[in-house]
Symmetry: D2
Subunit: 341 residues, 4 copies
C-alpha cells in the first residue's frame, strides 16, 4: 500500500527530532516563556519583516482558529469565509461553540474576493433589520485554501483594503502556508502577508513539525491579554519549548522554505504525471494537494494499492479524490504511485 491521502502522515523533519533530542534534558520555564520560543519568535519576526509582531505558538489549527476568532469578535458578530473554509466544515462546530456564526460567502475555487466581502458588508449595513442580525465582524481565509488554490498578491491587497475600509480584521489560516509560499505561481511573500493581514499563522503540523502553529500579530496590540485566552482554550502547551524548538529549527537556514519547495516539486511531478495519464482535474491547484475526478470502477481498483482521500461524489459514475505530497514525500513513492495510476 502506498500513502498519498494527506500531508500529516509522518512525524517531523529529522532536524526537528534531532533538536528535540539534543535539548531534551534542558530545564526551561513553561508556557512559551523559554529561550527557544524567544529565539523562534525573533527568527519569524525577521522572516516576516515585522520587528514588532507579537508571536504565539499554539498546538493545532482548530484551536488557533477558534481562539483567534473568539478573541476578535464581539458577542453579536460573525466571521465571513468561503463555504469550503476549514472553520465552516472541518472543526465540528468549534466557532459556533465559541458563540459565533460563520457566514459562507460566494467563492471561486475556495477563495472569496474583496468585492464579495464589500457586497456582504454593504448589504448588512443597508438592512433596516441589522440590529436583529449577526454583524459580519471579520474575514477568515486560508492560504493555500482547502482546495490547494492561492490568493494572488492583488487579491490579498483587495481583501485587505476592503477589510480596512470596513474596520474589520483579516485573518489568514496558514496551516499549509509553506506549500503556498513555495508554489511556482505564487507572488505573495511572508512580509506581504504581514502587511496585508491583521493576524495569520504559519502552519507547522503539515509542514515539517510534529505539531504547532505560529500565530503572528503584526500589531501586538490587536488582542491585548491574549495569553489567558489561549490558556482558557487549552491551546497552550505546558512544555511550550517543544513549539519553540520546532519553529526555531524550521526558521533556521530556511528549512521551512526548503522542505516546502520539495513538496511542491513532488506535487508538480505528480500533476504532470496525472496529466500525462489523462486524468481530469477537479480544480487547478498549484500547491501540494491535487484533486482529480476518477471513474468509480478505476477507483475501486486503485483503492487496493493506494490510500487516497475521498472528497465527494462527482456524479453517479465518478468521484473526486485528493492526493497530497508533503515535505516527507519520497520520490520513489511518487514514482510507484504514478506507475499504479
Amino acid at each position: 500500500m502506498i500513502h498519498f491521502e494527506s500531508d500529516y502522515l509522518e512525524g517531523a523533519h529529522p532536524k526537528i527530532l534531532e533538536r528535540l533530542v539534543e535539548t531534551n534534558m534542558d530545564k526551561t520555564e513553561g508556557y512559551g516563556e523559554d529561550p527557544y520560543c524567544a529565539s523562534a519568535r525573533d527568527k519569524i519576526r525577521k522572516a516576516c519583516d515585522c520587528p514588532n509582531a507579537a508571536i504565539y505558538f499554539l498546538v493545532g489549527g482548530t484551536q488557533t482558529n477558534s481562539t483567534v476568532i473568539k478573541a476578535l469578535l464581539r458577542s453579536f458578530e460573525g466571521v465571513m469565509d468561503a463555504p469550503s473554509g476549514h472553520i465552516s466544515c472541518h472543526e465540528a462546530g468549534a466557532i459556533e461553540a465559541g458563540g459565533h456564526k460563520v457566514f459562507p460567502l460566494p467563492s471561486v475555487d475556495g477563495k472569496i474576493s474583496g468585492e464579495e466581502v464589500d457586497k456582504f458588508m454593504k448589504a448588512f449595513l443597508a438592512d433596516g433589520n441589522r440590529d436583529h442580525m449577526v454583524r459580519p465582524g471579520m474575514v477568515y481565509i486560508s492560504q493555500p485554501t482547502e482546495y490547494g488554490t492561492l490568493y494572488t498578491k492583488k487579491e490579498l491587497e483587495e481583501l485587505s483594503k476592503v477589510c480596512r475600509a470596513h474596520k474589520i480584521p483579516l485573518f489568514m489560516d496558514g496551516a499549509r502556508l509553506g506549500y503556498g509560499l513555495a508554489a511556482s505561481c505564487n507572488d505573495v511573500t511572508l512580509p506581504d502577508i504581514a502587511r496585508l493581514c491583521d493576524i495569520f499563522y504559519i502552519g507547522g503540523t503539515k509542514v515539517g513539525a510534529l505539531f504547532g502553529e505560529a500565530l503572528v500579530m503584526p500589531d501586538p496590540d490587536l488582542i491585548p491579554d491574549f495569553f489567558p485566552m489561549i490558556k482558557q482554550m487549552g491551546a497552550s502547551l505546558a512544555k511550550g519549548r517543544l513549539l519553540g524548538i520546532q519553529f526555531e529549527t524550521l526558521f533556521t537556514d530556511d528549512l521551512y522554505f526548503k522542505i516546502s519547495k520539495h513538496a511542491i516539486e513532488m506535487a508538480d511531478k505528480l500533476e504532470q504525471g496525472l496529466k500525462d495519464k489523462g486524468y481530469k482535474f477537479y480544480i487547478n491547484s498549484p500547491t501540494n494537494q491535487k484533486f482529480i475526478i476518477v471513474d468509480n470502477g478505476k477507483l475501486e481498483e486503485l483503492g487496493k494499492s493506494i490510500f487516497y482521500e475521498y472528497v465527494e461524489a462527482y456524479d453517479d459514475g465518478h468521484t473526486v479524490i485528493r492526493f497530497c505530497t508533503s515535505w516527507a514525500t519520497a520520490e520513489e513513492d511518487l514514482d510507484k504511485l504514478l506507475a499504479l495510476l
Copy 2:
C-alpha cells in the same frame, strides 16, 4: 399616517386586558406555578388533543427558540432550517451564542421539505469526515413561515416521517400560528401539529397577547428538567401568571381562533384589493402577511401616508415591501389603505 408594517403594533385583545385588570390584586405564586397557568395548560392540552403534553409559557420568540434548541442539541450538533428562518437571520445570533450552527437548507417559498432534510442527513452520514463536522441534530420550521406561507398536512407528515426516521426532533415556531390555522387553504389542525411535531409553540405576542409563547411538548419527557434551563436563559417571568391569564383568555371560547380569523379576513380583502389595483405579488401568501413588488417612485409617494415594512430591493427600480394585518386591524383602516394604494 396609516400603519400596516407589522402585526405587533397594538397592545392586547381587550378581553385580555380586562382579565389582567380583574385579577390584578390576586396573590399568586410565581414562575408559572399559579392556577391561571394551570388552567391555561389544560385548555391548550384540550385544544391540541394531547392530554399528557408538558406546556411552558415563555416571554418571547427569540428566547423560546434559543432555549428549546439549546436544550435539544448536544454540543456538536446543529439545527436545520430555511435560509429565511427567524433563527437564521432575525435573532442576532442567539442560536450560535448558545453554541450551535444553523444549517440553511434549500427552500421554496420559505419552506423546507422532508426530502431536503433526508438528503442533508444522508450526505452527512455518508461523509467520511463526519466526525469533524457539525452533526445535523434537529429541524426548525415556522408555521406560517416568515414569508407567510404554510406547510400542508402532507408536507408536515413528510417532514415528521423523515425526522423520526433519523431520530431527530422536529420543532415548529408558531409565532403566528393562529394566522396559519385560520387561513382558508389551511388543512393542518392543532392536534395534527401535536401529532407530527416533537415540540412547537403557539404564539401570543403577534396574536392577541401583550407577549408570550405557549410551548407544547406532546411527550413531556422530551426535555427533562426544562425549568432550570428556562430560568437560566432568563425566559421565565417572575409573575408567571401574566402569561397564564393571557393564554387562558385566548383559549376560552375559541378567542384565539376567532381573532385569527378576523386577521385573515382582513388579509384576504387586502390581497383582493391589491390584485384589483394591479399590484404584483412577490410571493403567494395565504396568511396575514402580504409581500408586493412596488415601483420605487410609487413607494416614495406611499411612504408619505403609509407605514410599510421594507423587505429587500427587488431590482434597480423596484422594492419588495410587506403589509400585515392582525387581530387588531380595523376594517376602516384597511379601506383607507386600499384607497391610498
Copy 3:
C-alpha cells in the same frame, strides 16, 4: 390564608394598568423605539440627574444581569459579588452559561466592601500565576441586598473609588431599588447611584410594574452596540412600549417613590410588631424584607394560615423565614398577619 412570602404576588399598580388600557390600541414601533419609551427615558434621566445616560428597558432581572455582565467582561474575566448575590445563587447559572466565573467575596449582611474588592484585586495582581487565572473584571452589588440591607453612601463611595482605581465597572442590581430609596435610614439618592455606579437598574417587577427593569448607563459609551446583545439574549420585548408605558407611569408624579414608601411603612410596622411579639431577627433589614428565626413547632402552626418564604434551617429546632411587604400590601392584611403571629 394570608400571603407575605414575596414582593411579586400581585399584578401592577392600578395606574399602570389604566395606562395600558388607555394606550392599548395605539400603534407604535417595536423594540423600544416608541414614544412611551422615549418619554420614560427622559423622566428617568431627570430623576437620576444624568442628562446623557443611555437607558434600556429589559424584561426581567436574570436577563438584565446576564446581558450586562456578558457585555462588560472579556472572555477570561469574572465578576465579584457577595455569596448571597442573586447571580451567585438564584439564576440557575446564567452568568456561567454566558462564560464567566462569579467570585463570591467575604461579605457582611449581604454586602461587600471596597476594602474586600481591593484586597481581592491586589491578591490577583500579586499572584505569579495570574495569567492562568480568571481575572476579576467587575463588581456586582444589589441595593437593597438579597437580605434587605442597604449600602450607605459612604460604602458606595468606597466601592466606587476602588473600582475606578482598578478600572473595573461597578454594576448595581436594583431589582428592589425603590424599597431601598424609601427606607428611613437610606442616605443614597438616584443621582448618587448614577454618579457612583457605572451601570445600574431600577427594578419594576417588584416595585409596581407587571415586569421590567430600567437599565441606566450614565456614560452611554460604556457598552457600544448594546441593542443586538439584548436582542441576542432574548431580553428585548417586541412590544417594547409595554416597558416604556410602565416606567413612564412609575416616574410620573413620583409614583415609584410613593408606592415604595408605602411598602416601607408597612415593613416598619411589621418589624415593630414582630419585635413586640418577641420574634428574633436573623438580620437587621431596613427595607421591605424581614428575616426572622422561628421555632419549628411554631412555624408548623403558622404555616396553616400564612404563606412565608423558607430561607434556611437555623439550627435543629429553628428556621429562618422571610416576610415581604410591597407596594401592594394592604394594611388590613398586615394586621391579620400580626394577629396570627
Copy 4:
C-alpha cells in the same frame, strides 16, 4: 542555578524520544486511528484491568478537564471540587467558558470527602429554590491533589459510593497520577481507580511524556459520540500517533511506574533532607511536591541559586514555596539543592 520549581522542566523520557525517532517516517492515519494508539489503548486497558474501557488521548490537562466536564454536564449543572482544584484556579476559567459553575466544597489538605459531597447534594435537594440554582452534577478530584496529597482507597470508596447514590459521575484528574501510585503510603491501584471512578486520566505531560493525557472511561457508553466533542474543543492531535507512541512506551515494561518510583525516591530524600535541616512543612505531602514555609530573608538568599515555585505569603515574614521532583530529577542536582538549603 538549580531547578526544582516544577515537574515539567524537561522534555520526555529518552525511551519515548527513541520511539518517536524510530517511527518517525511511518505513515499512519490521523486523529488516533493509528496502530500505536490502538496498542497503547490495549496496554492501558490491561494496566487498569478494564477490558472494555474506552480510551482517548488528549493533548493537555486543561483541555481534558474542560472537554470531559462539558461532555458530562447538562447546561444548568455544575461541578464540585476542592477550592485548590486545578479547574478552580489554574485554567483561566475554562470550565465557566464551557458554561458551567465550579462549586468549591470544604476541603482538607486539598481533598474533599464523600461526606461533604453528600451534604452539599442534600442541601441542594432540600432547597425549595433549587430550580433556580445550579444543580451539582459531578465531582472532580485530583490524585495526587494540587498539594501533593493522596486520597486513600477508603476515601475514594466513600466518594464513589456517594456519587453513585446521587447518580453523578466521579472524575479524577490524574495529571500526576504516576507519582501518586508510586508513593510509599499509597494503597490505591489503577484497577481500583477504574472501579471507583467513572472517568479519569493518566497524566503524561508531568510523568515522562512530552505531553498527553490518557483518558479512561471504564464504561465506554458514559459519553457517546465523544470524538466530535474532542475535535470541537481542539483537543485532538492531527498526528494522533504521537500520543499513542508515548503512552505505548510508558505502558511497556512498567516504564510509567518505574520512572514515577524514581521521582518518589528523590522526593523522599528531599523531604528527609528538609526535615534534617529543620524546615517547616506547610502540608504533609507523600508525593513529588514538597511545600515548605521559609523565612523571607532566607528565601531571598535561596533565590540566587535555586528556582522554586512561589505558592503564597504565609505571614509577614514567611512564604510558602514548592519544590518538585520528577522522573527526570538527577540525584546530583538534589544533593546540590540540599547542600544549598
